[in-house]
């Protein structure tokens, strides 16, 4: 009996041993630590807390805790929903009230969707050893080609028009990814520089397109015409819930990227080129072909992010429509360890934080920027796992897996 107990204890401690070495625990603790520090920050930036400290130490601490707590409660209410409101809404049976109560949750999913596309784009590039900084530009181009297909191609049923418009988005992004891929493969031009430059070209090109060829004459400011009803991604609920099928398309793309990377010969070649291009060449892989293809696919995923926003949310293209989705995507692809599932999870985290931030500002007057700081803290801790391992006295991983190996500037 005692022996049995010991065994049980052993298996538990073995489990803990494995778990405490794992990266997942580091990520969880990084998020946790980020939230704690974020709370401290909120307390420090609130005047009431200072006032309370002037009264006494205890009331100061109480005020600080209260402020941090309120902030996170409103962050939760804004991103997931207010549990009390949801309960009342369901009790009342009023459809509109229910939709309003559950809206924060679905709105967070809407916010997460472009992140999933963008994160997948970056992750796919990383796996092939390419640092695609150009996701933001590819999103803009994807949005332009998507919106064009949405309003200029007429007379199609929705079942054809929607996939066609998405495809146009992918095509636009793909072309924008092809250029740096081609230059890298044929001339060795570093993709980081080229994609950054391609971003500027994309921004200004879109500005010009909005002002002249795609300009809606009925408007004063530069805007494209509205897309046709047949091109809109169907919404699953009535107003005010904006949740549309783009989210499921994003999940489907994550599954496809997973299958591509880890189940197909092309994925094997891609990862080989990403991890060791010399060995890939030795094994008979055509590096130029893979490099170009990876950039095209990466760009196409980014382009889908742009098209998704137009076809599912905005229905037309305005200047500066993307608020840095492409740049956040780089961070969250790394947060997700460049794995499609990880990308989904980190996209959800980013989407929920972004969405919650707005109501946080409304409810307790904490600026939205706090969430940016929170994201930055979480990312910094994940990027420097040694800090987390030291704080929580975790064991070193048995072998450090190098998931992302980027080639040098000369490579």
């Amino acid at each position: 009996m005692e022996n049995n107990n010991e065994k049980k204890h052993n298996s538990l401690s073995v489990f803990w041993d494995e778990f405490s070495r794992s990266n997942i625990l580091v990520i969880i603790l990084a998020i946790f630590t980020g939230i704690i520090l974020g709370g401290v920050l909120v307390a420090f930036t609130t005047n009431e807390v200072y006032d309370a400290f002037r009264v006494s130490l205890w009331s100061g601490i109480e005020a600080a805790l209260k402020t941090a707590w309120n902030t996170y409660v409103s962050l939760f209410n804004g991103s997931v929903g207010n549990p009390e409101k949801i309960r009342l809404a369901f009790e009342s049976g009023n459809d509109l009230a229910i939709r309003r109560a559950i809206n924060p949750f679905f709105e967070s999913l809407v916010q997460s969707t472009p992140y999933i596309f963008g994160g997948l784009a970056v992750a796919l590039g990383f796996r092939a050893g390419l640092f695609n900084i150009g996701v933001e530009g590819q999103i803009f181009i994807g949005a332009v080609t998507g919106v064009w297909a949405g309003y200029a191609i007429t007379g199609l049923p929705a079942i054809i028009h929607i996939p066609l418009a998405m495809l146009f988005g992918a095509l636009g992004g793909g072309i924008w990814g092809f250029v740096p891929g081609f230059l890298k493969a044929k001339t060795g031009a570093h993709e980081v520089i080229v994609t950054i430059m391609m971003n500027y070209i994309a921004f200004r090109l879109v500005d010009w397109l909005l002002k002249f060829p795609m300009y809606d004459p009925n408007e004063v400011t530069p805007k494209t015409p509205w897309i046709l009803e047949t091109a809109k991604l169907p919404r699953l609920f009535e107003n005010p819930v904006r949740f549309h099928i783009g989210f499921f398309i994003a999940i489907l793309m994550a599954v496809l990227v997973y299958l591509l990377l880890f189940k197909t010969t092309l994925g094997f070649e891609l990862r080989m080129v990403g991890s060791n291009p010399n060995a890939a060449k030795y094994a008979g892989v055509k590096i130029t072909k893979i490099t170009i293809l990876a950039m095209v696919l990466s760009g196409a995923l980014a382009g889908m992010a742009g098209a998704n926003e137009i076809l599912g949310v905005n229905y037309r293209l305005l200047p500066a429509f993307s608020s840095g989705y492409g740049f956040d995507s780089i961070a969250l692809a790394l947060l997700g360890k460049t794995h499609p599932l990880g990308v989904i999870l980190s996209s959800l985290l980013f989407g929920f934080l972004r969405n919650g931030a707005r109501s946080m500002q409304l409810a307790v007057g904490v600026p939205v920027d706090i969430v940016s700081i929170l994201q930055a803290l979480i990312l910094a801790f994940i990027a420097a796992p040694a800090i987390i391992r030291t704080i929580y006295r975790l064991k070193e991983p048995k072998h450090e897996e190098t998931l992302v190996t980027l080639r040098s500037w000369k490579g």
Partner: protein, 521 residues
């Protein structure tokens, strides 16, 4: 007088491994003490303890009879212990002077570096020890052998008396090794003591005053070169009888499988590296390419495996002209390649062993159906090969980076030998490997030869070429100077040719007859 350095009962445990088990070691003033052991025997751990990088679990260190507590390399340096790592710790874009000064800067008033004073001291040291170093040269501009001498100067600059050299010859050409040995002799004449870590037996016999052999974390014996032989040391190191001689029967060469004609290949900088080279390789024979590193071997191998293309001449394999074919096409015809740098070209280190075992056949049935990979089949294949080729690993699913060099090489050998091949290019197949692995790889090569495979062996280890080859082609500056029959070729003759000296017919005969005499006695 107390010894310069004494280690008593040093023990170091890592989770699941006893890396050092009560090791005692004594170093006298002015001696070269070789620490001999296979990869993973615990040599480097022991030296890292001495250098303060690890703390020992048990044991004491005495320097000149005084107990020393080292908790960091700074303590070790203060006590006069210096270490030259296998991979140099130099800043390539700095000059020699800056590198030497780094961490111990000479400063003038106002915090300005006194480069002149430091450079003068470097010149002084360079003269005493005959190092021939220009303090103003940039590290990135000087050859590897000279970089190593900069590492030596760094230690002498800090007045180290006990110098640890971790596998210092691994990166050197034979001539550079000789130069290094001369410098080591000068150093001990000047009263320094050297701990020379290696697994190369020949070098130990050449240079060491005393030898300590370590196996599985324990000292298994102490001896001197005069009292022991190569075979004794090898057996002590491996723990069983090993044959350093390669056992092989007479080759039965068949038809010509592979040939090159007037091949001309450029190096990456555009200089001619292979210059009108021609030779043939027959089925069932080993043609060895002997030569000092950098005489066109790398470019030759890259050209015949399709990694680069020759600018002139022809490569024929099984009657086909493969000069302009891609690596994949050449592999598919039945050519195999053990690359000279296994980590750079031969393996994807972050991939599991099983994936590395199908690195160039992943797209073929049964590993893949259409464009879907069959990872279950690949894993099964991995399990089989791990067993058949004795790759030491708990599972074929762990990344190949976790394996020792010898086992990594076995992965490549297993991969290349497990498919039907007619021709094998083995480039430096045993570089950096321990005795046990070398023995294994040599046996595999000869077995493949006896199965009728044509083998082109490229090695800068003269002994290896002499032992394995049936014919020896000596290359010098991109040209084949001569192709010799291995039975009658003496080491002396091959050595002369490697240096670019073509002896007259009479001299040749003399050397051949000398070899016969040696064989008769």
């Amino acid at each position: 007088m107390a010894p310069v350095l004494e280690l008593r009962g040093i023990t170091k445990r890592f989770p699941g491994v006893l890396a050092n088990d009560h090791i005692n070691l004594t170093i006298e003033k002015g001696e070269i003490h070789a620490l001999l052991g296979e990869n993973g025997a615990g040599k480097t751990t022991l030296m890292n303890i001495l250098y303060g990088l690890y703390n020992p679990d048990e044991g004491e260190i005495f320097v000149n009879g005084e107990k020393l507590n080292v908790s960091s390399p700074i303590d070790a340096i203060k006590a006069g212990v210096g270490m030259i790592h296998q991979h140099f710790m130099l800043v390539p874009v700095f000059t020699v002077t800056d590198n030497v000064m780094l961490g111990e800067e000479y400063v003038k008033a106002g915090g300005v570096l006194d480069r002149v004073k430091a450079a003068n001291k470097i010149r002084e040291i360079s003269n005493i020890y005959k190092l021939d170093i220009n303090p103003d040269a940039y590290i990135s501009d000087i050859p590897v052998g000279m970089q190593q001498r900069v590492e030596i100067i760094k230690l002498l600059f800090r007045e180290a008396n006990i110098i640890i050299m971790d596998e210092p010859t691994a990166v050197l050409t034979p001539q550079e090794v000789e130069e290094l040995f001369k410098i080591m002799h000068t150093m001990v004449e000047q009263g320094k003591s050297i701990i020379f870590i290696t697994h190369k037996l020949g070098e130990v016999m050449d240079i060491a005053d005393r030898i300590t052999v370590i196996r599985s974390g324990k000292v298994v014996g102490s001896t001197t070169p005069a009292e022991s032989s190569l075979n004794d040391l090898a057996s002590m190191m491996v723990g069983r009888e090993v044959s350093l001689e390669v056992e092989k029967t007479e080759a039965k060469p068949g038809e010509v499988i592979f040939s090159i004609q007037d091949l001309k290949v450029l190096d990456p900088l555009g200089a001619v590296a292979v210059d009108d080279m021609s030779f043939q390789v027959h089925a069932g024979e080993v043609l060895g390419i002997a030569g000092v590193q950098g005489n066109g071997q790398t470019e030759l191998v890259r050209a015949i495996t399709g990694l680069e293309h020759a600018i002139e001449g022809e490569v024929r394999f099984l009657g086909k002209n493969i000069t302009k074919l891609s690596p994949r096409k050449i592999t598919e015809i039945g050519s195999a390649h053990i690359p000279e740098d296994r980590q750079k070209d031969g393996l994807v280190l972050s991939f599991p062993i099983s994936d590395n075992l199908v690195l160039n056949t992943y797209y073929l049935a049964p590993n893949a159906k259409a464009f879907w990979m069959d990872y279950k089949q690949i894993l099964d294949n991995g399990k089989n090969l791990v067993e058949n080729f004795d790759i030491r690993t708990p599972s074929p699913m762990i990344p190949v980076s976790n394996l020792s060099g010898g086992n990594q090489q076995k992965v490549i050998v297993a991969r290349e030998f497990s498919r039907p091949i007619k021709f094998l290019v083995a480039s430096q197949p045993t570089r950096g490997l321990d005795v046990g692995s070398i023995e294994y790889i040599h046996k595999q090569l000869i077995q493949k030869r006896d199965e009728g495979c044509a083998i082109l062996l490229v090695s800068t280890e003269l002994d290896e070429v002499m032992q394995l080859s049936d014919r020896i082609a000596v290359v010098y500056r991109g040209k084949v100077l001569d192709i010799l029959d291995a039975k009658s070729a003496s080491k002396e003759l091959v050595g002369l040719l490697m240096a670019g000296i073509i002896p007259s017919e009479e001299e040749k005969k003399k050397m051949v007859s000398k070899k016969k005499q040696i064989l008769m006695t």
